[in-house]
Amino acid sequence: MPEDKKEFWRWAESNWKNPDLNWEDANIITVGVDVGSVSSQAVIMGDGKMLAYGNMRTGSESPKSAVNAFNFALDALIDMPEDRMDYCVGTGYGRVNVPFADRPITEIACHARGANFIYGPEVRTVLDVGGQDIKVIQCDEKGKVTNFLMNDKCAAGTGRGMEVLADLLGVSINEVGERSFKVKEEPRAVSSTCVVYAKSEATGLLRKGWTTEEVLASYCRAMAERIYALIERVGVVPRFAVTGGMAKNRGVIDRLMPMVGLERMTTTWDTQIAGAMGAALFGYALCQKGKGRKK
């Protein structure tokens, strides 16, 4: 009997409710839904304050994942009816596929706004490493974008690439960061971050006798270098913050920060929900500006 194949790439889905706030006290309830290529998040905000969020895997159907993520966030709130929502903004890769959204806003604007909310007004440079693209955004103290770059042509150095490698090496995605530092000597970076080439190079290195940890370290370094090349284009203005799933991977980010030459800002929030948070905040701003839904 073949043993059950474990999905090493699978990360934990989660939802959360703010224990200090009650949705019934809120005037305007806005929802932000970020349908990414790998993960989908829904954030529910009352008057610009966090009420609840849900974070789950996207799967093959964007509209369905948007609904699932929203229901997941609603589950956390337990008793809020779906139609209590005043305004909904869709963002991310599948932003036009959110069936209940009032309007789409690009993830660039939403991530800057979300990072501003998570990390505070001092954040000037936001690096978002998503499932399938890398964004480098500079913003002002209000979270307004001043300079941005998004590379979505090539998935090199992105979250999905890391998932593929974790699966190849049989290392759970949560352990990649820690294990990549368990090497005696830092190995050279794999020569290509292209997911397909890197995977075959990793297979070759394993055959040569490299340990799993060495291959992980080598790939993490290559990804950090790749990400840095994009950051260099836009430039770094302190303070520097990272959002997206890759912010949880020490292996890449701790190798990246010495290249950037700055400390990164820290947070207790789930970094994956930054885009959805920004979307919900834009929804709130639009409602306040009188650009909200016509009733």
Partner: protein, 96 residues
């Protein structure tokens, strides 16, 4: 805002930068570009709070800039680019 459209791959950096502080959305670049790389949108997609039209690089061209712009960029004797010439506001930059 500096909007960098394009990509970086193994063959190089291919970005067109539109400075939205300077761009007034007149559409001259759109008319000048033989490959229809530019489009004008009524609202800046990366800044929903900004009012007024703005030039962007069309969605289907962003991942093909190296090829779309190639006819205007011969390797020898490079004439000025039509988009940059057409832009009175001086809002367009090419990275390569």
């Amino acid at each position: 805002m500096l909007a960098n459209y394009g990509y970086k791959d193994a063959s190089g950096d291919f970005f067109i930068t539109v400075d939205t502080e300077k761009c007034n959305g007149c559409g001259d670049c759109m008319a000048a570009c033989p490959a229809s790389v530019f489009a004008v949108e009524d609202e800046d997609p990366s800044d929903p709070m900004r009012d007024g039209p703005v030039a962007v690089v069309a969605g289907d061209k962003r991942k093909r800039l190296k090829y779309e712009c190639n006819p205007c960029k011969p390797s020898a004797l490079r004439p000025p680019l039509p988009c940059i010439e057409a832009c009175k506001a001086d809002a367009i930059l090419h990275s390569w």
